[in-house]
């Protein structure tokens, strides 16, 4: 799987989200993603991650074996750490 595809899936599932995905090992199944989305504001950390996981559906665990995730609400999306 490509980082672009992962990014596309998340963006499609969370409309308006700003998503950055990198392939951690070049093997197409371990990714890290930073997702900034206004909808996260009303969610707990667990719910934010679940919302991202839900956009990936069956791909997660089948093709995506690991996804390191950093979520941000939209306004601190500019913050780079």
């Amino acid at each position: 799987m490509t980082p672009e595809k992962v990014q596309h899936l998340i963006e499609e599932g969370l409309s308006g989200a700003v998503v950055e995905v990198t392939d951690l090992q070049g093997t197409g199944d371990h990714f890290s993603a930073v997702v900034a989305w206004a909808g996260f504001e009303s969610m707990t950390l667990v719910q934010q991650h679940q919302a991202v996981y839900d956009t990936l559906g069956e791909f997660l665990t089948r093709e995506i074996h690991a996804l390191q995730l950093k979520t941000r609400t939209a306004n601190d999306a500019s913050e780079k750490d």
């Binding site: 950390l45 667990v46 991650h49 679940q50 996981y53 665990t61 690991a66 996804l67 390191q68 995730l69």
Partner: protein
């Protein structure tokens, strides 16, 4: 007792439960190991369940928790999260607070 009920009971009846790959003495995956190391710094007792022993555990667990990956950490029956969230809470000091709070509720309920 079916497996799903057994998982539910394990989560509800123990203050801290970690579903992981391997055991706390011998973690079999980097993410599980990272959570074991973080928990190790608090010196609190917790139940570790090795999902590799029975692939069915993972299926039922994910249905219960709506969380697709392993490890999964539970405090007082509530999903804290996977490796990312647990480490984020560990670094921010929130994990310490939640563990201390959990210990208080356990002590006050006279268990």
């Amino acid at each position: 007792m079916d497996l799903k009920t057994e998982i539910k009971n394990t989560i509800d009846e123990n203050m801290v439960v970690l579903y992981m790959k391997g055991t706390k003495e011998m973690p079999m995956c980097g993410f599980s190991k990272a959570v074991v190391q973080a928990l190790g710094e608090y010196g609190i007792p917790y139940v570790d369940v090795n999902v590799l022993e029975d692939p069915e555990i993972r299926v039922h667990l994910s249905e219960l928790s709506n969380w697709p990956t392993i490890p999964q950490l539970f405090i007082n029956g509530e999903l804290v999260g996977g490796c990312d969230i647990t480490l984020e809470l560990h670094q921010s000091g929130e994990l310490k607070r939640r563990l201390e709070e959990a210990e208080k509720t356990v002590l006050s309920s006279g268990e």
